[in-house]
Symmetry: C2
Subunit: 876 residues, 2 copies
């Protein structure tokens, strides 16, 4: 069976995006609309996949079809490859299903050779145009197709310009260009030991192969990973008749957006350059003109262009990004696609298009990229100051926003300086739970180690604080000095962090607060009407709760009670508890913690009122509460009135090889049930007090972490229930509470049916579940996952986007077995995945009731949940 | 519906063990055989479970049925509770499905009170007997049923004896005994604030409840965990008419085995005591007589006894352990059960019974406890010297055998001293891979930290070296001194370890080498004929291979190649490889490793010849190869000619929070494919060399560790295959090799179908799979699992016996999905579970092809595999 691997633009249509790529499908659609599109054909994404499956060789089948379509194109255009009367030149461009601007390769003017150049010069009466085109082709082909370094050619151009004493390429004359063509061919021959190919069909096949290959170049792989594009999609290749913007001053080329991509304003926004080819616009050699000037330059062309913009928006129901060329006053549209835009513009365009009656609310909701919204919620750098700054290093963009401040290395200085009104940036090898206070008062956090889900990253996102993590170039000298970009930084030096890009800058850069336009609120209401899943927050303080509720959260899905224990007064009592030698001593210490703990909950409940609050019981291994340095150990020993050896012995006893899989989670309650008793008393008493004081009917959900075994859960369930009932009976005030499980281990998913006998809700802790399913420590995986991406073994970070195949199957098993026992089981997620849009589509599909994420991610999750509903409903 | 909760002995039979317990079923069976059994009834195990399910209360239903059966028993015996003409006394004894000797409680002489005692005295004409029985009952009831401490009573007896100036209980006269009864009742009243109960029915119900409760006492829980007995089985309670061995010198009581339990000799072996009750035999107050003396004392009784022994063996097809009482020259059998025996005896009895035609080979195979065989394979302490020694501490019995030697604290001293011919015991806080050489030369290993699957334990079992691990009582002072049992130990001090019990002894105790009797070989042949699964070894040296093959292994199921890297010459090159800054430097260092590595394999292949050898590629994180102490780091820096800072920086770079889930396993090959290339070359070249030199057609199976993702396996598969083919082509010699996967992560099991597309075998690494399924770090879990056992959340150590519910389901999923793609997929296990008999039954059932364990466990696994086949065939 022979496959159809090539389509004329006129054979396709806009719905064939998977096969023809975005560019190819849109070219076909524009052809069907009768727009002035230079004709051509598209080689399908399937041909690309076949190319890679077949050991990176162009098959005979493909070759045959390509040549067949070349002939068709020759017939359609009346031009011919290599024909000196009317030579056919083409562009060869990539075009994947999803737009990947600039990631892959393009070759223009293909088909040219010595004879054709000469003929072109005669035919157009424009010798300079002909040799400019030729020079460009030789350069582009050598670079893109054959991998001869661009800089070789640039050097020659510079030499020629120097010899002539001119500055611009456009000042080179025909002889210069001819000389360059000849010299370029020599470079080619020296580099590759063969002549530059003059046969257009040979040029074409090689160019097609080069575009295929560019699908697997490093930047394309990186872009795909960042944008969740599977490598299995492949790219199509578009072969299109060249039209020339470089035929003189009645020719030109440009790009335009049908609406303003920065603000969303409904007004064409674009630029063009006369006597130029596409690459010149991008290269910024000359300053382009604003599209509105075209109205003066060539009014009839401008008018036609405006009409086309309208037609395209009507057809695609979205703001378009166009490439066009004017060849001797005739307008050609080279491609159209949905335009990239700022979050602010995206919201305005979506709302406007709906209000213009062009799209439905569902379509509007689908037009905004959820992750974009984060830029509306954090401060950003002043654009002008940023332009002047060059990054000194790049780390992971762990928590968005822009931050500038003076370097501090520890939380004491951070606290002291911030009290003095200084802006500080906390710089650490890595952070731990002890650093929380310091992180709280910092503008931003910079770490040398750790990935996107390291402690610093997770906590910073939770706080909405800018963070650049895992900046491996930092070399610490001791604890109070580091070298970066060749400069030594000490306490008090200024540094700036861009949490959206991971860039680190020397010195101070002005930041500007976020501006939220009125469309934002309107749009989010639409999202809320549409979404099926609830959106909760992970938060541990009244401030978190307030922020989350402002951002539209429906309650708290995860209170990490350990975060309440790090505050000074509390941690002293917690340390006494850890050092206790007997159950009785432990109870005495816990009695000191209880009133403070209760106070934390009272503060939260006063904000959350009657919204549900899911409280996870003490989770981390106890050694996290003890200090690591001798100095701090001595301080604590003095404070508690014990010998420092006592502290050190305890640290040593609690030391674990793999603390992630150690004495933590509900294992603490199994060992020391008095902890669960204390926490339950504090929570229920707080709920009762708030009910009495404010009249709110507080809804608490008590969550047991790291459950594995039915009996393990039941043991703690019984303690919680007995304690809660005792408090309720004593106080004589009813409190609404549920008891449930955090599902974090593979085993918990397998025995979910047994656990659900008593557990009324499951909250999937997919961070730990991912760690355990893969055996990837998220603190350490950063070191080797890069190799996985480089080798395309993984196409995404499984800590950021859920691995639906492995981890997802465990989650599905857990839900299915849980609901088979308890049909009304409430199911949520509290891991880092819970604001990832791709993951959210999966969660909605398998029946989650809610997601729970950092307060600053709530708007993203709300929109992603709405989109998930739309996507999954469409699949039904 | 009313349940039958009570059975007369005559209503049951030997097959009703689950319902009536072992003792009850056997009493029924003996009754049916017409043997002289005092009559009575059994309260079922279901009644016990109902007792616990119902909140630890005797139900009205049970009470009614018990009283009904008391009436029946009264009718059968003609005696009555509380009747002064012919009073009924009974014993109340536990009896679980599996024998748990001494773990639960017994009450004798129940039914006695002031009036009955007086009547008994008159009826028997033996006043002393009557009050002796009464005294015993009050004491036993107070202790067992009501929890009044035994020592209170003992103190009173001692006081009375002292006042009289006598030493033995038997020297007390009737008045003394009466006085004691009265004083005991006072103690009872003072302790419990109520009178001692005189009503036999009240006594009976309380006694039954006490036996039920004893099912959950600490020592019963511990015994069940050690012997894999589920708590859900419950215990039955046997109420049996008392017969009296304490009615004078024509009465007596004793225990006997139908064959010798130490040697297996076919000759009755037992003891008896005249004028005594059962407890006296156990308490060792007087020295009992040997059973053969009974022939002289009471020849007709002896003759009857011998006939009964024969009858019981004929019926139960096994050596029996009997309790009997002679009341005034009349013989009663109180219970019979299969007798506990030494491994040596077990083998002889099984072989003899088969050869006597009494049992089939299958039955013979089922009669020997596989774990018992280990005592035949290791040295043991000299029995007499051991009797004189008292343990100073108890750790975990991590690796069996007996060892005595001088304390050393590091591997340098261990090696030096052992070269001087000294016997050394390596004592460490915990061991790590660096200690391997030191462990190799030691007689035994003692660690303060770590569980049954800690590094020390696993490696020691692999080596067959005695090890006591996790001896928490050890307090280290610095690295060269520790305190244990109040004594300070330093280098050179003598210490002895019992790896079968975990006991640690001060000083030197003589050891004796193991003696393997001729029945052993015969018996193992039967096992081999019957078993379905292959038995391979985990071993890394030619010596391991030799030992394993001697013990009957069919090849090597797991070569841990990293173990080859710790030897001096090799580790230097490995360290160079780790410190390499570029791929080229790494390749240079690997080239140095290769010939040494190849040599290791050549040595192994010369021993394994044509048996399959499964080789796991480098698995541990690289930091394990770098030293931790500054001193050693300096040494290595000097050796490699680099600054010590370079080593320290590398150690710091390689540091991981959770190394178990870090940069290890196939992740190393993904990062540094040159490692896989080197290992493949070394293996294939070695196979070719051995084929050329010795003519063996070596069979290697190359195993990729810690696989998670299809593409990950394929990446390494391609490297292995290309490298192997290249070597084979270069050398022109064919080698038979397979490429497969170590399945160690939950995700690997879920995607097993994809992995099996290329993988021809799976070896389940159930240690890691257990760690990851539960999120239990096996290095750390010891700290909290004790709480799980105490609270009966776990009834066994999931690192020793596979959790078939969770981990087992993942394994089953893995096999099923793997075989759905590749029906002939070979499936094995290389984790610590692979010699656990309970696990082996599961493995056989779900279709494993082989197990792979330490050489010293091979005979155990062979027998367990045979038993698994028998058990699973019977279920079909």
């Amino acid at each position: 069976m022979s496959n159809k691997l090539v389509y004329l633009f006129s054979e396709g249509n806009g719905s064939m995006r998977n096969l023809l790529g975005g560019k190819g499908a849109n070219l076909a659609e524009m052809t069907n609309l009768g727009l002035p599109v230079p004709q051509g054909f598209t080689i399908t994404t399937e041909a690309c996949n076949a190319y890679f499956d077949g050991g990176e060789k162009i098959s005979d089948e493909l070759k045959e079809q390509v040549f067949e379509y070349v002939t068709k194109l020759e017939e359609m255009t009346g031009k011919k490859f290599g024909n000196l009367e009317n030579p056919l030149l083409v562009s060869v461009r990539s075009g994947a299903r999803a737009s990947m601007p600039g990631m892959m390769d393009t070759i223009l003017n293909l088909g040219i050779n010595d004879e054709v150049a000469e003929a072109l010069a005669k035919l157009t009466g424009n010798e300079r145009f002909a040799y400019d085109s030729y020079r460009r082709f030789v350069q582009m082909y050598s670079d893109v197709v054959m991998g001869v370094s661009k800089s070789e050619f640039e050097k020659h151009i510079d030499k020629v310009k120097e010899e002539k004493g001119v500055k611009l390429d456009s000042e080179l004359d025909v002889d210069d260009l001819k000389r360059l063509v000849s010299e370029f061919k020599t470079i080619y021959k020296e580099a590759l030991n063969k002549d530059f190919p003059s046969e257009p069909r040979e040029q074409l096949l090689n160019a097609i192969e080069a575009v295929f290959r560019s699908w697997m170049n490093d930047r394309a792989i990186y872009y795909r990973r960042m944008n969740d594009i599977p490598s299995a999609w492949g790219t199509a290749v578009n072969v299109q008749e060249m039209v020339f913007g470089n035929m003189g001053d009645e020719s030109g080329t440009g790009v335009a957006f049908t609406r303003n991509p920065a603000t969303g304003e409904n007004k064409i926004y674009g630029e063009y350059l006369l006597n130029a080819q596409g690459e010149d616009v991008v290269a910024g050699v000359r300053t382009p003109k604003h599209i509105e000037e075209l109205e003066k330059d060539m009014p009839e062309v401008y008018e036609q262009f405006v009409a086309i913009c309208k037609k395209l928006e009507d057809r695609f129901h979205n703001m378009q990004d166009l490439e066009y060329t004017i060849e001797r006053r005739k307008l050609y549209i080279l491609q159209t696609r949905n335009g990239k835009r700022t979050a602010q513009a995206a919201l305005k365009i979506a709302v406007d298009l709906y209000e213009e009656g062009m799209i439905s609310k569902d379509e509007a909701l689908m037009q905004v990229e959820p992750k974009q919204l984060s830029s509306l919620l954090h401060p950003t750098f002043d654009v002008d100051e940023l332009k002047a700054a060059a990054p000194i290093a790049k780390g992971l963009p762990a928590s968005p926003g822009a931050a500038t401040g003076q370097i501090v290395f520890n939380q004491e200085t951070a606290s002291a300086w911030s009290k003095d009104g200084k802006k500080v940036i906390l710089v650490r090898l890595e952070t731990s739970a002890e650093d929380i206070e310091g992180m709280h008062v910092s503008e931003g956090i910079l770490t040398a180690r750790g990935g996107m889900t390291s402690h610093a990253a997770v906590v910073a996102r939770g706080m909405g604080t800018t963070c650049v993590a895992g900046c491996g170039e930092i070399v610490f000298h001791g604890e109070e000095e580091f070298v970066l970009g060749g400069k030594t930084y000490r306490e008090g030096d200024w540094i700036s962090l861009d949490g959206d890009t991971g860039n680190v800058y020397d010195g101070q850069i002005k930041t500007v607060p976020a501006q939220i336009s009125g469309n934002f609120a309107k749009f989010m209401t639409w999202a809320d009407e549409r979404r099926r899943m609830g959106v909760m927050i992970n938060g541990d303080t009244a401030a978190d709760a307030k922020q989350g509720i402002e951002f539209g959260a429906g309650g708290i899905g995860l209170v990490r009670t350990e975060h309440m224990f790090f505050e000074k007064k509390r941690i002293r009592a917690i340390r006494e508890m850890i050092l206790a030698k007997t159950t009785e001593e432990r109870k005495v210490a816990l009695e000191k913690v209880k009133p403070l703990h209760r106070e934390n909950f009272e503060e939260i409940f006063k904000v959350t009122k009657e919204l549900p609050v899911t409280i996870r019981y003490l989770d981390p291994p106890l050694h996290e509460f003890l200090p690591k340095t001798l100095e701090t150990q001595q301080e604590i020993a003095d404070d508690l009135g014990v010998d420092v050896q006592v502290i050190q012995d305890k640290v040593s006893t609690l030391h674990e090889q793999n603390p992630m899989m150690g004495h933590r989670g509900c294992r603490l309650d199994i060992s020391y049930p008095e902890i669960a008793v204390m926490q339950t008393e504090a929570i229920i008493e707080a709920a009762i007090n708030v009910k009495k004081e404010c009249g709110y009917d507080v809804h608490v959900e008590l969550m047991v972490p790291l459950v594995n075994i039915k009996k393990e859960f039941e043991f703690i369930y019984n303690i919680m229930k007995e304690t809660a009932e005792k408090v309720i009976a004593e106080k004589g005030v009813e409190v609404s509470y549920k008891i449930g499980t955090c599902m974090e281990t593979p085993r918990s998913c397998l025995v979910a049916g047994e656990i659900a006998e008593k557990s009324t809700f499951f909250s999937f802790g997919t961070n730990d579940l991912t760690q355990l399913s893969f055996g990837f420590s998220r603190d350490d995986a950063g070191k080797f996952l890069q190799y996985y991406y480089d080798r395309q073994i993984l196409e995404f970070d499984p800590f950021q986007r859920m691995d639906t195949e492995g981890v997802g199957e465990l989650v599905e098993i857990g839900i299915q077995r849980g609901r088979s026992v308890r049909p009304d089981l409430k199911v949520g997620i509290c891991g880092e995945h819970s604001a990832d849009p791709t993951t959210i589509v999966f969660l909605d599909k398998v029946g989650f009731n809610y997601v729970s994420c950092s307060p600053f991610l709530v708007p993203i999750a709300r929109l992603a949940c709405a989109q998930a509903t739309i996507i999954n409903d469409a699949e039904k």
